[in-house]
């Protein structure tokens, strides 16, 4: 997550309650009938999560679900705690209370080294490739927990991202932003995760690459991998996803299908710039 996010949202949280918090059941407004899911049917189920960094609480009573093969995005203004949700799931934030289950296993408070064994892959926003390692070495590190680099997965990654195949021996540090992003995703896909966590995959990319990136993510999702994505580019993310969450100041605000959220008057006015 970005530095500004953790620094920026503290005063807002400390400052007082939000309208959302008083707005119906746990502050979540469902614009259509998306019933609250049971943990059993969700691949990832986040319940009543409070989390942050050290003593600084960022998330308040957060709920979030991703079912098998689903494409879910989290959008919201700066400092809404979008990245923090993802980091909490992957054991990188400070857990305070609540629960996180993945594939029926309680992963609350576990560290990333353990969580990766459960079938979760994570692509951080910044510094998501080993710059001094070659493309092939980066991908091999993605499969570190296996005894050998899995041929099948490696072939699939190269097929999905032909540019990586062409540049196997190139140092990741000498690649462009878009290529690095693909390498980062490729690295996370080496373990063929059930759920891929993507933190702002379009950040810092040239506009013409953004579409390509989202297309790649669609393809990954279509091949059966569930996606949980945090995005700054809210419109595009909601257009592409199955379901979207809108977060405000560390709390759930809206949840619905991406399409419905896009069409919703209030969401458009407040979060999508009209």
């Amino acid at each position: 997550m970005s530095e500004s996010e953790s620094a920026g949202e503290h005063p807002a949280n400390a400052g007082g309650d939000t309208a959302a918090a008083t707005d119906g059941e746990r502050g979540i407004r469902s614009t259509a009938d998306t019933p609250r899911m049971d943990a059993e049917e969700s691949l990832l189920a986040v319940r009543e999560l409070d989390a942050g960094y050290g003593d600084l609480q960022i998330l308040y009573d957060v709920h979030l679900d991703v079912t098998e093969g689903e494409y879910v995005t989290v959008v919201g203004p700066n400092g809404a705690g979008k990245s923090t949700v993802m980091k909490s799931v992957f054991g990188l934030a400070t857990y305070m209370s609540g629960s996180i289950t993945f594939g029926g296993t309680d992963i609350t408070g576990r560290n990333p080294e353990e969580i990766i064994h459960e079938g979760l892959g994570y692509v951080p926003q910044n510094g998501n490739v080993f710059t001094s390692l070659s493309v092939a070495e980066n991908l091999a590190m993605g499969a570190y927990i296996l005894d050998d680099v899995p041929d099948e997965a490696l072939r699939e990654v190269y097929e999905r991202f032909p540019i990586l195949d062409e540049r196997r021996d190139q140092k990741a540090g000498t690649m462009s932003g878009g290529q690095r992003q693909m390498l980062a995703m490729g690295r996370a896909l080496m373990l063929e995760p059930d759920l891929l966590l993507l933190d702002e995959p379009s950040a810092g990319l040239a506009p013409d690459l953004v579409d390509e990136m989202f297309d790649k993510i669609d393809e990954i999702n279509e091949s059966g991998t569930a996606i949980l994505m945090v995005e700054q580019n809210a419109k595009e993310a909601l257009r592409r996803c199955d379901r979207g969450y809108v977060f405000v100041q560390g709390r759930n605000r809206f949840v619905d299908s991406g399409r419905t959220l896009l069409d919703d008057e209030e969401v458009r006015r407040e979060f999508l710039g009209g």
Binding site: F130, I145, R187
Partner: protein
């Protein structure tokens, strides 16, 4: 390009980088003096060759010890000042075993294990040398490496591990404390006197005639060369060709990413101490074998050169440590052509400072391990 351009370019250069000019002139002056010395016979070619060889040997020791320092720096992010005393610790443990193996039955075990503290046994009398007592030397070499590994791991567990999340400066200061504790523990056990450990007269030598004099290469020089180069190549192979080595480079590159990728970071840290420690212990043992004497301050004195080499090469870079070691070794050795040998060390540091002025990131840009 016209004369005016050349002139203004030159002037700009002088104004912008007066220091470069001074250094350039100095280098030219030394080179002219060197050629003149050779031409007039004031400097003997064979002496130069001897100094180069000597510098190479010293450089190999510094480089070997520097790899461990650089590795731990790149992965743990702190400069371990106790490193010099790991060198000494390795040397003393190894030589205690060498004495024991070489002198068993000829002197009492206590004096042997204390490496003849208080003049009770002499290495010369035991006839220690790589050809005369190969088993004792090999055994000592292995133990030196193993002991330094154990030492590094124990200290990491007791001191550094609980401080892993602290700033580098806290760890650095803790390591200075560890350095003192180790050094005086060694002095307490083995006494503070410097003593000869090899049978200097009994080491086979090859003398070659070179133009105007003899150049001597001893069996101990050759041993150092083989061991050091062999280990350096092994480290290269490890880093570039093995999964563990790649993981070490990955962790040096980006520790947070290494963690989310599933690389077991604590295990990589431990592997780093094991490899760095082994190289350090072996470097200490070889250093003593090569120079023929042992003292409780050896590692500490060497550490300054090791730091110079590692910083010169780009701290964190293993290859930088090797190249830096050779540059430092050759510089301090060759500097005696112009300055008294007491100042040889100063010359080495001068070169380090000069390199850093022109290339502040070090020769290999540091923090990459590769």
């Amino acid at each position: 390009m016209g004369i005016a351009d050349t002139y203004s370019d030159g002037r700009r250069y002088v104004v912008d980088r007066p220091f470069a000019l001074v250094v350039g002139l100095l280098v030219i002056l030394l080179a002219v003096d060197f050629v003149d010395g050779l031409a007039t016979g004031r400097i003997a070619v064979s002496d130069v060759a001897t100094l180069v060889w000597d510098g190479l040997m010293q450089g190999l020791v510094v480089g070997l010890a520097g790899i461990g320092l650089s590795m731990t720096y790149s992965i743990l992010n702190f400069a371990n000042f106790a490193h010099g005393d790991y060198i000494t610790g390795g040397a003393f443990s190894g030589w205690a075993v060498t004495y024991l193996l070489a002198g068993l039955g000829r002197a009492d075990v206590g004096s042997l294990l204390l490496i003849g503290a208080g003049g009770s046994v002499f290495g010369g009398a035991l006839g220690i040398g790589v050809t005369a007592t190969p088993v004792a030397v090999l055994g000592g070499l292995v133990i030196a490496g193993l002991f330094a590994v154990v030492l590094a791991l124990v200290i990491d567990r007791l001191v550094y591990r609980s401080m892993r999340d602290q700033e580098g400066i806290s760890l650095l200061i803790a390591s200075v404390g560890v350095a003192f504790a180790l050094r005086y523990l060694i002095a307490f056990v083995f006494t503070t006197e410097n003593r000869g450990v090899t049978d200097a007269g009994g080491v086979p030598e090859v003398r070659g005639y070179l133009l105007d004099g003899f150049v001597t290469v001893s069996a101990h020089d050759a041993t150092l060369l083989v061991v050091a180069v062999g280990l350096m190549l092994s480290v290269h192979f490890l880093l570039q060709r093995t999964k563990l080595g790649t993981a070490m480079r990955a962790m040096a590159d980006n520790e947070d990413l290494a963690r989310v990728t599933g690389i077991p970071t604590e295990r990589v840290v431990r592997a780093t101490w094991v490899i760095g420690g082994a190289l350090t212990g072996v470097a200490g043992y070889m250093f003593v074998l090569w120079k023929g004497t042992i003292g409780f301050n050896d590692g500490w004195l060497l550490l300054l050169l090791v730091f110079a080499a590692v910083i010169l090469g780009g701290i964190g870079s293993v290859y930088g440590a090797i190249i830096g070691g050779l540059v430092i070794g050759l510089t301090s050795s060759l500097s005696v052509l112009w300055i008294p040998s007491d100042f040889a060390r100063a010359a080495a540091f001068l070169v380090m400072i000069l390199v850093l002025i022109f290339r502040p990131e070090g020769l290999f840009q540091g923090r990459s391990t590769a």
